[in-house]
Amino acid sequence: MNISQFFLQLINGLNIGSIYALVALGYTMVYGIAKLINFAHGEIIMVGSYTVFVCTTLMGMPIWLSIPVSIIVCAGLGICIEKVAYKPLRNASRIYLLITAIGISFFLQSLFQLIFTSNPKSFPTIIQLPPLTLGSFSISANYYLTFVVSVILMIVLDRFVKLTKTGRAMRAVSEDQGAAQLMGININKTISITFAIGSALAAVAGILYSSSYPLINPFMGSTLGIKAFIAAVVGGIGIIPGAVLGGFILGIIESLTKAYISSQMTDAIVFLVLIVVLVFKPAGLLGKNRKEKV
């Protein structure tokens, strides 16, 4: 086994892992606050990538402008989805919410398939920085930028949730919705903000992912979404550092299995990891087992 080869795979894993972590953060935040698996989250990644594609390739917008546009579109879409599809069902049984979420995800997929066909589109080059040379091997700009951007966003999010008033409101709502409302917290507004932040992170993840793998299609979000959700569960769903940890673990496992075991069986191995975690540590690596209250 070659050491530099191993490091290359590790860097590869950190790259994809930081994208998983960003998406997993969205899942975890929404799950924490609304107790809902937002299946449409994966599709928001796809919408984010397509927005950049439409802005730059079809409308000729400069790239630096298309990125904030995409983030805003996704945040808006996240809020819309919440208002239209999830909010009316807040008091209904969980399975109805899940089916609606699946419906939304499926709807967005088929809508984009109708508009853009299922042929992959090439994503514009966004990052034009020189690669970073470290001794004998160089790391492409995509890789280190993805990593740096993700880590900065995670730190910002962590500070935001811990220190600001809105962040405190979010934590309160996820702890106990009823009690939070009695303390004067506007639940609807807090949930909307959570969806907006999660979707904005998904947009960033989508853009970063597409600049590493520059072919986008309407189904790109679903696999990425499943992997990120698995990352969130592995780390402990509802826990923000858990999502980050899970994302990185999953990314590294994936790139190492691709390199050393079998590239075709990667998905199966990731799935196996999930099953093993659920058997031995159902609440996730960072999760605490809580007693259910009646």
Binding site: L36, I37, A85, P88, L89, A92, S93, R94, I95, Y96, L97, L98, I99, T100, I102, G103, I104, F106, F107, Q109, S110, L111, Q113, L114, S222, T223, I226, F229, I230, V233, Q264, M265, D267, A268, F271, L274, I275, L278, V279, P282, E292, V294
Partner: protein, 323 residues
Amino acid sequence: MKKLKENKKLLILATLLGIIGVFAIITVLTQQGIINRYYSGILLSTCINIILVVSLNLTTGFLGQLTLGHAGFMAVGAYASAYCTKVVFASLPAIVSFPLALLVGGLLALVFGVIIGVPTLRLRGDYLAIITLAFGEVIRTILLNLSFVGGAKGYSGIPRYSNFMWAYFLAVATVIIIVMLIKSRHGRAIISVREDEIAAEASGINTSYYKILAFIFAAFFAGVAGGLYAHYMGIIEPKAFTFNKSIEILVMVVLGGMGNIKGAIVSAIVLTILPELLRSVSSYRTMIYALVLIIMMLAKNSPAFKEIIRKIKNKIIKKEAQE
């Protein structure tokens, strides 16, 4: 009391007569050539879909757990039973090897159901949905890379043992078994888990056991349906068992009414025949399915949505009254 029992006997007799009657009519029509090969193919797919929908209804409707990997179990059953008739039981006559193969397909799907269900269903929460979703995708990628069952080219040369008779009676058997399960003590336990898991557990029901029981039952029947499908098509490809197929089955369950067997059968029939008639708008099919899921859920549960429907109804009634 005696009269009740008599009534029940009559009902069973009538049902049996009905089942045989429908079968006889369709057989006669086929022999007369009124039902051609195309139509009898549709009838066969209808029966396969009934098995799939009724079995999914057991987990989604009665147990109240969302499963998104029904096509995955179907794929397991299809490939396993095809491998059986082609390789393992190839020397046996069709009348023996086919049911054996279907059984093996169903049992293997059941084993996969246990592997997924036991770690997942012990937990409270919505893990099952996403894990079955991932399972469906993983099974598909594994099948794409298994060269001894054809990989991406598909597994071809499967003997075409499936005919309307097999499909029809298996569908009938599935419905009867699931209805009997639901009406039994075990069925009531399953429903109680859906209604209130904590209360069910407090009343001494082993919730994990019943969740897994319902889940593997459904997996078994999905495997059998997959076996029927494989021996009807003659060639199976991994791309036939995508997430879209699972969603299609889910849409049938939702449209028929979750936890409603009759509704499930009707919607399986309608949603198998309707797309055949509406080939021209087939590119919108997935989108329509998605909208059906969203609107059905909102219509059932959202107070605002119910209000809108009520207003529309009132307006129509008023208009009619004015005229």
